[in-house]
Every structure is written in C-alpha cells, then in structure tokens.
Amino acid sequence: MENTINFGIDLGTTNSAIAKFVKGEVIVFNNPLDYGRATLPSVVCYQKDKIIVGSQAKVMFGKQKKDAFTQAFFKRKMGTSESFPIKSQNRSVTPIELSAQVLKELKTFVNTGDNLESVVITIPASFDLIQSNATKEAGYQAGFKQVVLLQEPIAASLAYANMKKSKELTDGQWLVYDFGGGTFDVALIKIKDGEMKVIDHEGNNFLGGADIDQMIVDKLVIPKINAQFSFENLEDEMKSASGKYNSKYYVLLSRAEEAKIRLSAVKSAEIVVDGFEDEEGNEVDFEITITRSEFNELIKSSVDGTIEMIKTILTRNSLGSKDIQFTLMVGGSTYIPYVRQRVEEILQIPANCEIDPTTAVAVGAAYYAATKQKEISKTDKQQKKTALSIKASYNKASKEKDELFAARVTGDTEGLFYKIVRQDGGFDSGLKKLSERISEDLPLVENAYNFFTLTVYDSLNNVVETDIEPIGINSGFGISGQPLPEDICLEVDDYDNPGETRLALIFQRNTILPTKRTLTFPINKTIVKGSEENDIRINILQGSHLALPEANKSIGFIGITGKNLKRDISKGSDIEITISLSESQDLTVAAYLNMADQEFKETFNPKERHTPVEMLKEQVEDLSEKLDEEIEQATEKEDYETASALSKLKREMDVVAEETESLTSDDVTDKRYQLEDKKRKIAQEIDSATKHKRIQKVKEHYFETKAECLKHLDDSGNDHERKTYNDIVSQEEAFMSTNSPIKIQEKSDELQSIIGQIRWRTPDFLTGIFNWLKGEQPKMNDQTQAKSLIDAGKFAVESQNWDRLREINFGLLDLLPRGAKEQITTKIGFGL
C-alpha cells in the first residue's frame, strides 16, 4: 500500500485531466470514450433519468432539449452563491455539485484498479479562499476523503522541473503563460530556497482556442464567400440558431479548427466550403487558402492582449525582461507558432515549450501528489459490499439496428447508478439510477459481435460488484449460411515451374456462404485489340487447392481475347478478378481490365457447365505429355508398379485425346462434358499414382535443407535465426502429416531463407561472391561506379570489414545487367 497520494487532477474551466505518479514517472490516463485524448471537457448535462459528463454533454451545451439541462464554465462561478436551476427537476445545482460530477467522471478514467481516496486538485492562481474551499468541497462530494489543492502555474512549473531532472530549478522567477481552450491565465512564479510561489497573476476568462476558430470563420471565411457569391446576410444566417445556414456554420468551425492545427505545421491550409447554394442558385463549392501570415494577422490583437497583461504584471512588480528566466508555455493554444514567437519577440524573454501543454498541469499535480502523505485512517475505508444480483435477458443474435436489453436486479438498489458502455467505445448510456428493472435499447454495429458492459456505481462513482457477465450480441451474421463443400480455386500460371499452371486458393472449404473476394494480378502478356493470338483465361475450379489443376472440376470460365477488347492492353497492367458465391452457390465472376476500363462478368450456375472445347483439347494434350514424362521417370527409377499403372492410364488418355481432337469448337452435344469428366478422373488418378513420389521428393529435400541449415546455425547463427528454425522444426509433425507437397516445400523455403541470411554474414561466402562479381565487372552497367565499388571492396576484404563488404556486394549485384528474363508460363495470362 502506497503512503503517498500519487493522484493529481487538473480541474479545468474547459477541460480536465487525471494523472498518476508511478515509480518515478507520471502517466496521464486516457479518456476511455474519447480516443487519443487524455482530457475530459468540463461540461455536465442533466437529463430526466441520467447525468452525462464530457464530450457528449458539450454537444448539448447552449441547446434546448426537453427535460435536459447542460452547464459548462461553472468553474468561473466557484465560490459564489449562484446556482443553476434545472427546471424539469424542480431543483438547482451549485457549481460545487457540477465540479463534483466532473471529478467523479475522471475517476472512471483510472484503469489501474486503485481506490481513489486522496487526491491533489489544481486551482487557478486567482482563486481566493472561498473559491479554494469550494473546490475542496467538490472533491469531498465526489467521494475523496483527502483533497490537497495546488495552484495551476505551480503545477505546470513542477511538470517542467521534473522533466528537467538533471537541472534543478535554481532561485529565480519565470512566467507561466496558460492559453487554453477557453481561458487565458498568466502567472509570475518565484522560487527561493526551494520554495515555489505565485507572486502575481492576470487573466481573461473569455479567450481561448474556440474563439480563434470562430475568428477564422467570421473574419476570413465568410467575407471570402460573400466576395464570390451573392448572399444577403450570410453571417447572420450562419450564426443565428434559426438561420438558414446554421448547420454550415458548424461545418466551417470544424474545418477552421482543422486548418488552425495544420497551420502550426505548414505555411498554408485549405478550408473547403461546399454543399450549399447562394441566393441566386449558384452552387458554393470552392477552397479558401489561408496562409500562416493571414492567420497570424488575424490573431495578432488577441495575442497582443495577452502580452499586455504580462507587461502589467512586470510593471506592477518593477521587473524587466532580464529578470525573467523564461515564459513557460501551457495550454493547447500555445501550439500555435505565432503565439510562441510573438510572446518571445515582444517581451524579449525566451519562450519555453518543452512540456506537453495539454496535460502539464495534471502531470505537475501528480508529481506534487507523490510528495504528499495520505492521511486517511484505515477504519474509514471499510465499505459495505452490496450484494447485487443482476439477471439479464436479451437476444444473443439480431438483425435489428438495436436490441432491447432487459434486466432484473435483486438486492438493495437504493442510491446506486448504472451505466452501459459498448466495448468499442461507440455507445455510453450515461449514468442512470438503478432500479429493480432496467431496460435499455442497445445500438448494434452491423455484422459484428457487439459486447456491452453494465457497471453499477454507488453515489460516489465507486464500482459496486455484481454478478452480471458481459453482454454479447451478434449482429447480422448469417446463422443460416451453409458451408462450402470443397475449395474454390483459380488457375494461375506457375512462375516457379515454367510451363505449368497451379491453383490459387480463393475460398477454403467450409467457408460460410455467401462470400466474395477480389484479387488483383499483373497481366503477363500483351493483348492486341482485335487479335486472337493471345488470350487471358479465368478458370475457376472446385476441388482441393493442393491438387493438380486438371484434377479439379471447372465451374466457371471466362476467356478474353483481343476481339473483346476496346483497346490494346499491355503486359504489366492489372486485372482485377472478383469472385462471389451466393448462398445457393451461384458463382459470379467479374474480371476488370484496368487499362481498358472494361469489365467481363458472368454468372455461372452450378448446374450448367462451361467447358470450351479449345481449352479441353489443350488440357488433354498437356496431361498426355505429363503422363509420358511420369512413365519415363518411373521406369528410370525401376518403379514398375507405378509405371504400369500409369501406362494403363495412358491408354485411356489416348482414347480421350482422340475423341477430343474430333470435337468441333461449336459442338453442341454433351460430349465435351463427358470427355472433361474422363479427363478429370484420369488426372486424379495420375495425381494419386504420383503423389507419393512427389511427396517423397519434397520430404527428402526438406530434410537435406534442415541438415544444412542446422550446420550453418551451429557455425554462425544468431538467437533469432535459431528461434525461427526451432519454430519450423516444432511444426514438423503437423505439416508432414498433411502430405501436401506445397506445404512441405514452403517450410523448406523458409529454412532456405535462414541459410541465406547466415551465409550473407560469413566472410567466406561474402569474399566468394565478391570475387565472382569482380570477374563479372566488364558486363556491368556503370563502369566507373563498378570500379570504385570494387576498390572499396578490396579494402573491405583487407580490413575485414564484412558489413561493408556485404553492402558493396549488393551494390555490385545491382550493376549487373538483368539476364534474359527467366522463362515464365503465360498460358493463363497472370500468375503467382
């Protein structure tokens, strides 16, 4: 149990944040419902049955909603007797209560499992005793038992001092310039004998980043729209809530904010104005470029206003620029380069931008908290555990946009609240009163599993344990979808084996239908418009993707020749093939040729077959050749059993070949289908007769590679390579038992690449390659470069600088002319 407070909270006018000191470092907790942000807008919205705090409440601020009441900027009213009436609930809330809500919400950021009882909360330097006490009270109302206050400028200075660990802050004074989202504050800090003190301060409660966004729209964007289009009173129509273009105003504000942020990094930014018409019916659609200098000019007077306040402080304390060490920049608006620059320029005091301006105050508070002792007696901590049982009922699968969730709660619900949050962060019910029965419409993300968590809180936002499990609802998933009985594959040219084709897996067996996939391949031959010389074949097959293409059943085929084309298409241009299977297994194939912007689409019904005679002839021919080869090889190896089985197949094949040859390309009978079936059967038999041989071969190759790899590893492998090797070997049993030549080959290739890696490190190999490359020099493209590389290489060999030699080898390899392109298959038109 830690004895120090460790938690610090920046309870800001516009935004708040919470941080924790952990072992010398401070972590700022992220807002669980606002990605990438660590801050919580200090806005509270009371509705009939719930309380919302943060971004979603901010949206409602200044708007009228039935039975709802939203309040922001209540920090300005801290310590006054003012209260805000909630008409619909016939009561009013004080700034203290509102602040307590924000503090409670911040507790939900803490994901470290800590029970928050002691905390440091920051206050502006301008807060008097009453305001400070009000802040303390808010802390107690939020359930903290010990609240320590810290002034914001001091907190920011502490964040800076702790960042500069090596450099202790020496005696002296500096300014903290805090320009945030909605307020501006400046304070003069003095450190003497290790004691930090706020000497003086000034501020403007109505100046911040939001005001700058508004200035961009009002002073830059609207005039430019008016100059180009005709509007009678655009500004009013935009800014008045009942105005015609009010919604556009918010669009522009959002774009202005984005442009403002961009302008911190680049010299100019664009704001797009579009989506409406002027009064004469002209469409407004144009871009406004805002340069950094325009922007700087725009904010100049506001920035100068802040500088005036600093000057007042300096004069009041009879100080000159030289007496100030630096100006510490805090608050989101100090990201603007002009702000930093202008402040520095006019005051002649260096601007210090080393800390994260948005979280500095919370960070500083946490550092301070780490030095403060907890003062809570143990007895206070005993809490009554509420035994709550929640029985939930809801549909676990739904095709609706939302699903009704109902639950019955047993146990004492008095004074308790609940909240339901969707796990992706897209839904938050807000804090609602817990009662015996709860019901809630839960919005679902389509086609996904939606998980929700229901959490019960007590009045101080401490989590109350219940027995409810996470709520899981499956949206839209076709529970009825049937699985695919066999693999669906696409025939592609096999670039590893010239002359052959192979199968690329598109949908694996047991994929749930309907399904769809798009693949893109570069085409490997040029097809001239009008010519029939070359073609592209899209052949979809059903059956194991590990088998020979001839052994599978063709279920869809599209052939594209020059006759179908609007223009020539070149080698290297893309073909995009989209294959979809409906629930009833209707196959739709669409091939799109990028270069010609042409699509070929066909739907194949599994009951009909598409077997072009030409393709059949070719396949039969290929298969006969393959058969001859196999017979020859089997005979050579004196494997007479296989040879005789194959010879028998060969005889059958000859018959098929003869019959196929006699078919005309427009044959209308069923003959071609019968022949195709026969061919497929023969192919399957060849496959099984020779599979054993192929597997034997790849297995042998695998074990050879493995032995070689191990040798290299023993000689000069590193840990990473050893791990990769062990991973492969540990899977050996699994991939060997698949009896798939492709799978086993893959593993051999992986081992091979480890060997490659090691060899490229060994001096012998590197010198060997280098010597060979030296001999190849006359062939190289750039003789001057080749010569200088070779000279450098010789030196590297002498000085045994192997890393350098490796680089040189790569450089020299690049200079070699590309050899005659390796022979590749172009039967299909694309491949892998």
């Binding site: 990605y35 949206v59 504000l253 969707r422 962060g425 897209g426 086609n447």
Partner: protein, 115 residues
C-alpha cells in the same frame, strides 16, 4: 474496460479522402468507373491485415443522441430534441478484426432537430 486502438494517422487521413471522393462521385453522372476504384480503395483498407482492417461508416440521416459516443457532434439550431445527422464532416472509422470492431476515429458531424 474499453479497448482502444491506435491506428496510424496516415490511414485515417487517406480514408477521409476516400470518403470525400465517394461523396463527390455520388452526385456525378459519369461513364467512367470511378466508383470501382473507390470500392477497391475501401477493400484495400478492409484487408490491411490478414484478418482485419479499417472500414468507415457514413452516419448521415441516422438519429443522434448523447449516448452515441462514436460521434462528435455539433448541434445546429436551438433545439436538441429528435436530432438527426444532417452533415458528415468526417466518417466514423472502425477497425474490424474477425467479428469484433473497435472505433479507430470518431465521426464528426452536425446534427439538427427534425421537429
């Protein structure tokens, strides 16, 4: 506890542009097939990883209320009852992996009361 996902900003920026182009193309009658390229772009993002990727969702016309934490809204007009999303400045970007989705970036919208 909600899970959070940090997606490289460049992906989000690119998706925002795809979304903008898609919006513009909708109003266009063209003989070319720009929408095909848009669909392809979207598919590339959907398949960023072997079993996951990014998708965006345009919430235009959907009802808005304060429980929707997948959206950052500005409300146009005075009333905040019966809100409908009338302008989408940035779409909601979701990261999808298997059947699970997470919000990678909130949508930025303007909502207006329909009453």
């Amino acid at each position: 506890m909600n899970e959070q996902i940090k997606v490289p900003k460049i992906y989000i920026d690119l998706l925002d542009q795809v979304f903008e182009i898609e919006k513009k193309v909708e109003n266009l009658t063209e003989s070319n097939s720009i929408s095909r390229n848009i669909t392809r772009l979207k598919e590339i993002f959907e398949q960023l990883e072997a079993d996951g990727g990014l998708v965006y969702h345009n919430p235009i016309g959907e009802p808005y209320n304060e429980t929707r934490t997948d959206i950052e809204a500005s409300i146009a007009g005075n009333s905040a009852d019966n809100l409908i999303i009338t302008e989408v400045i940035k779409p909601i970007v979701r990261y999808r992996k298997g059947g699970i989705t997470l919000i990678a970036r909130k949508g930025i919208v303007v909502a207006e009361s329909k009453s």
